[in-house]
């Protein structure tokens, strides 16, 4: 109907009522038509797929927030290590390599679960999710043993700034792993019972993103603690 549109009359005394040339070309704007917005529940083609995407986006946004927490700790660590000359680096306990191996393996197990769910093989999904959960728990135990090993060497939280940051970073990461394990428990339950609020795919996919991030974050922290001494 654009061609039949007549330009609106200029209303006297109202400068803003003058028609503006359409951006990017002469003439007048085409008729208003609905465009796709962000488009979720409100009418995307597939509400279930939209819900999955929403939860995945939520995981990514949450990761951005967590990154800022660890960025703050990292910058504080770098600044503090350059002050006062009282910095003593921590020799990492050997068991941290076991922790690393456990967590890296768990990334593979959760990825396996996610891919099985996409082909809707329910039994396998439950198995691989539970395996991930178990590996997460073992990781926490392994970290605990690492703290024990340090304590036996007489290195505690307040011993020196280096050890303070070691305990701080590893413990904050462990708290986030525990949060991920809660999400895993939820996902395991969801795989048994389809939920009204969250589809099982949304639960598993979002948890997988978070879990992979925790894995990557751990590798980053390990390298930081190894090399910034």
């Amino acid at each position: 109907m654009a061609t039949t549109l007549t330009p609106p009359p200029v209303v006297e005394g109202e400068q803003h009522a003058r028609p503006q040339p359409y951006r990017g070309g002469g003439g007048f704007p085409p008729p208003a038509r609905p465009r796709d917005g962000g488009g979720d529940g409100a009418g995307g083609p597939d509400p279930a797929a939209q819900a999955v995407f929403r939860y995945k986006l939520g995981a990514w946004v949450g990761i951005a927030g967590i990154v800022m927490i660890f960025a703050a700790f990292t910058s504080a660590m770098i600044v503090r290590s350059g002050l006062s000359g009282d910095w003593v680096g921590v020799d990492l306990p050997q068991i941290l390599w076991l922790s690393t191996a456990l967590l890296l393996t768990s990334s593979f197990t959760i990825e396996k679960a996610k891919r099985l769910l996409r082909t809707s093989a329910r039994e396998g999904v439950r198995l691989w999710l539970t395996a991930t959960l178990g590996l997460g728990a073992l990781f926490i135990v392994s970290q605990w043993l690492g703290w024990q090993a340090l304590a036996q060497r007489g290195i505690y939280l307040a011993s020196n700034p280096g050890s303070s940051f070691f305990y701080l970073l590893t413990a904050t990461h462990a708290v986030h792993i525990l949060g991920g394990m809660l999400a895993l428990c939820y996902a395991v339950i969801r795989v048994w019972q389809p939920g009204v609020w969250v589809t099982r795919q949304a639960a598993v996919e979002a948890t997988a993103i978070y879990w992979h991030f925790m894995d990557g974050l751990w590798v980053y922290l390990l390298l930081l603690l190894m090399f910034w001494r």
């Binding site: 609905p34 917005g37 986006l57």
Partner: protein
Amino acid sequence: MTEVAEYVEVHRHPEPKSFISKWIFSVDHKVIGIQYILLAIVSVFIGMGLSLLVRLRLVWPEKSFAFLGDWFPIGAPDGVMTPEFYLAMLTMHGTVMVFMVLTTAPQGGFGNYILPIQIGAADMAFPRLNMLSFWTTFLSFCALMMAFLVEGGAPISGWTAYPPLSALNAAAMEGTGQDWWIISIALFCIASLLGALNFIVTTLELRAKGLTMMRLPLTVWTWFVTAILGLLAFGVLLAAGVLLLLDRNLGTSFFIPGGLVVNDQLVNHSGGSPILWQHLFWFFGHPEVYIAILPGMGVTSHILSTFARKTVFGYKAMVYAVLAIGGLGFVVWGHHMFMSGMSPYSAFVFSVLTMCIGVPSAIKTFNWIGTLWGGKIRFTTPMLYAIGFVSLFVTGGISGIFLGQPTVDLFFHDTYFVVAHFHLIMGVAAIFGMFSGLTFWFPKMFGRFMSEGMGKVHFWLTFIGVYAIFGPMHYLGMIPHPRRYAEMTGVDFLAAGGAYEIQHFITIAAMITITVQFLFLFNVLWSLFKGKVCTEDNPWEATTLEWAIPSPPPHDNFAGKIPTVYRGAYDFSLPNAKRDFAMQCNSDEMVFPRSSGD
């Protein structure tokens, strides 16, 4: 709903039946929004009461107030406030106001209630997370109030909690007030992070069909950018809070330097840096200023346009200005620390970046005035508050240009000039944004109008009152009268500058202005039950989606039928429209669409 031409059917959630699931642990964004607003109203009156005590102590340091002796036998023995009590009230005033008022109501309150409706969603993206955010905020509020009750009383280190004062547990501060403060702030950070996550995903994912980003109401834009700021800023404060808590309780030395002697005792810490706290705190603290003020900017843009009956002047410029303010907000934190021994080169960089914020701020102000220019202005109460916002924003912003220059800041640092600056721009302007928003959306929320008569009286008295309080403080800062001191009696240069008389005047102005706020509270309560009933969906003849549904909105907002959006958010004064505006869901092609986004 006459103008809605096309719907999309969506799945509906069952309406909660019991009182607890409907009003207490509700997952409905509208109820949660009202819960946030209630929390902010309770907090703002606590905060005002604390500021009154601060003002009384400043002007009558030795005077005995009998009621204080009864309430605070330790802080005010025989009714005379001790200096520590003054500092505690000052600290808690700042903390309550910044966190529990300025951060909760504009974003958690109005954003929660209005944003999902304005984008055509049935609720937030994660309703249960939303509930968790509010109740974590409430826990944070309780923890903060605990600081008043524990032995040793509330913390005295200011809302910025600068170490070493805030970090020393045994020596300077005997009690656990500061610990409760940190716990409260940590909980608040977690709640705000969850809330920010929800806002971002909601805005990106739940917009109705046709509602492109450049068709969003400016309110939604500011809530969205505020959420991004919150997401990136609160994590840093959380991290800093954890470090401070460890310093206080577990013997670490992140912030406490060595060789400190407090109360004749050598403090058993070494090697930390108080400046490190300042960097972490202000990396959060400066974006926090915009977290408080940006929603007010959005509400102001929205309401100025609605009541000037004109489209927002320079919609895209407004959007980019908000993004620029948000982005620059992360790289100017150093201007709070010019006096911390910072390298002059760093100070120069921070100063130049700070000046840059003047550009998008000026764009916004120019566009607000451009929106008003030549409009058929309807002077309703919300419009008055919105115009008041512009005035306060300009007044408070100009002094920021002074303070952003290191050489000028050398003189003004920690004087009343700073107090005047941040109260006008961050405190009062943001509060005017809330006044404006509440009076504007009240008929939508509760189906009744707030009293215009009471509203106008309240506006004028408050508007004059805040200028009477904070205007003279600029002059006090030039004398220069330092801030934060409990008592400044018998100082020659202050007497010569007339500071004591001015302080008296300010205290009396504050008492009157605080009293006037009860009129607003009365107006809210009276209007809830006796206000003029709003029978229309769209009493203000506004354009955005919240006005396309009944007042108050039904459960699920659009009752399962989401309208399709055809045009930008501010189509006013359309020459060939039946009325002088077209709602966003108006699909009439003959109504010439001129507005933003197309």
